[in-house]
């Protein structure tokens, strides 16, 4: 009994910490803000918050339950694409990335070409990701 209580308390507090920090990370880094701006409907903040919570819950369920829906190959491509978009936004939002582009452009005195640099960084990300997954033995 006491073991169960301790386990539950530990689990809940661990979940609290992880959930809060992950959400704080997304918010501070500006990804959620960017997406909400993109939708041009700031009034629905509550809806967006609920989606974040639901997404986290569902992903936990998928990760730990081992259940399967079976034969839904049709949504694989759009799903992968959307997940990629989110991770890409995260990668772009990291201050390191922004800083590196800024510093590189300024040090090399090519501020005019900055969007070229962004496109190249973007292609680098895509190619790196493809290499990682497609070349066997990388992971």
């Amino acid at each position: 009994m006491i073991k169960a209580v301790i386990t539950i308390v530990t689990g809940v507090s661990g979940g609290l910490a992880v959930g809060a920090s992950v959400t704080a990370f997304f918010t501070v880094i500006g990804v959620t803000v960017k997406i909400i701006e993109w939708s041009r409907k700031k009034e629905y903040t509550l809806l967006y918050q609920c989606s974040i919570v639901l997404g986290a819950l569902v992903s936990c369920f998928i990760y730990f339950s081992g259940l399967t829906l079976k034969h839904l190959q049709i949504i694989i491509i759009p799903l992968g694409f959307m997940m990629g978009i989110f991770v890409g936004m995260l990668a772009a939002a990291l201050t390191e990335t922004l800083d590196i582009i800024t510093v590189a452009a300024k040090k090399l005195n090519i501020v005019r070409w900055i969007y070229l640099i962004v496109v190249v960084t973007l292609l680098g990300k895509v190619v790196g990701s493809l290499l990682f997954f497609l070349i066997p033995g990388f992971f």
């Binding site: 034969h71 694989i76 491509i77 590196i100 582009i101 496109v119």
Partner: protein, 202 residues
């Protein structure tokens, strides 16, 4: 009759090239009686122009104006000093420019590729993909190619969305996060130089 009053504030940027005659109107914006304004704006500060960075303080400006128009009340608004840099007439070597651009492109391309690989192996992305693939299709696959390829393309899309690349193609007015970052670091640099210059003079 009361003494006339003028208000001034520093302009954010200096627009003339090196060696061009620098007038007071290039450095400050004025508000006051129209006839005085013109006279003051034409005061010559540097007859030979400026070649390096120059720091101007509000006190210097007040003095300059009062020399020209005795008995005038000069009131500064905003910052008490500013740093100005002349524009350089740039004759850039196109070959060097091309090399620089090419070099940084290669560097960033490889760096970005490596960084995303680091990230994927750090968070064990493949395992997560396997679990998602199993959840959806019910097949246990070592490498769900369909999923990972579309995911990889999505990464590029995400970066483009975040940095407003599509908006950039349409209109160049709105600043994206990148412009803001550039502006921020430029401002910090200018502020630092201004304060440093002030330390030297005192």
């Amino acid at each position: 009759m009361d003494n006339p009053e003028v208000y001034f504030q520093f302009k954010p940027f200096y627009k003339k090239y090196t060696g061009e005659k620098a007038l007071l109107g290039d450095f400050i914006e004025l508000a006051g009686p129209e006839n005085l304004k013109e006279k003051i704006e034409c005061i010559i500060v540097f007859p030979n122009g400026i070649n390096t960075q120059v720091r101007l303080t509000a006190v210097q400006i007040v003095q300059l104006i009062q020399q020209e128009v005795p008995g005038i009340a000069v009131i500064p608004i905003g910052e008490s000093s500013a740093l100005y840099e002349p524009k350089q007439r740039s004759k850039e070597n196109p070959v060097l420019l091309f090399l620089r651009v090419a070099f940084s492109m290669v560097l960033l391309f490889i760096g970005a590729a490596l960084a995303i690989m680091y990230f994927h192996s750090d968070v064990d992305m493949n395992k997560a993909h396997q679990i998602i693939y199993y959840f959806i299709t019910g097949e246990k696959v070592d490498n769900p190619v369909l999923f990972t390829v579309s995911y990889s393309l999505g990464i590029g899309m995400g970066i483009a969305i975040f940095l407003d690349i599509f908006a950039k193609m349409k209109n160049k007015e709105n600043p994206g996060p990148l412009e803001l970052e550039m502006h921020q670091s430029e401002k910090e640099l200018r502020e630092y130089l201004r304060d440093q210059e002030g330390k030297k003079q005192n």
